[in-house]
Symmetry: C2
Subunit: 75 residues, 2 copies
C-alpha cells in the first residue's frame, strides 16, 4: 500500500504524506499534525502552489477518509 505515497517527518509539527496520483497536474498532500488536525493540500494543476487547502479536525478527516474508501455508512 506504501507505493505512491511519500512520507516525511516534520519535526515539531507531525508528518507529511505526499500521494502521487500518476499525473503531473494532480497531487494530494496531507499534513497530520501531532494534535490531530489534518491539513489537506490539493494540487489540481502543475503549479507548486496548492489549488485548495482545507483544515480538518480528526473527526472530519475520518469522515472524508471513510467516504473516499467507500466504508462510510449512514448512522
Amino acid at each position: 500500500m506504501g507505493k505512491g505515497v511519500h512520507v516525511q517527518d516534520l519535526p515539531g509539527v507531525g508528518k507529511r504524506y505526499d500521494i502521487d496520483l500518476g499525473r503531473p497536474d494532480q497531487r494530494i498532500s496531507v499534513v497530520l499534525r501531532s494534535g490531530g488536525i489534518r491539513d489537506l493540500y490539493v494540487f489540481a494543476s502543475a503549479s507548486a502552489d496548492p489549488t485548495a487547502v482545507i483544515e480538518l479536525s480528526e473527526e472530519q478527516a475520518r469522515k472524508v477518509g471513510a467516504v473516499l474508501a467507500a466504508t462510510f455508512f449512514e448512522a
Copy 2:
C-alpha cells in the same frame, strides 16, 4: 458517524456525499461512481463552484482515505 454527511443517490452515476465541515467557506463533496472512480470536489470559498476537482481511482482514493484517517502504514 452519519452526522454532517449528506448522501444523495445519483441514478445511473453513483452516490454523492456532501461532508459539512462546519464552516461556510469549507466543504468537501465526493461522488462515488458505480465503476469505482471517485470525484473529489473541494470548496475552499463560499462560492458554489469547487476550488479544485480531483479524479481518483479506487486504489488512490483508498490511499488518501487511509492517510486522512491516520490508518496508513508504509509497506
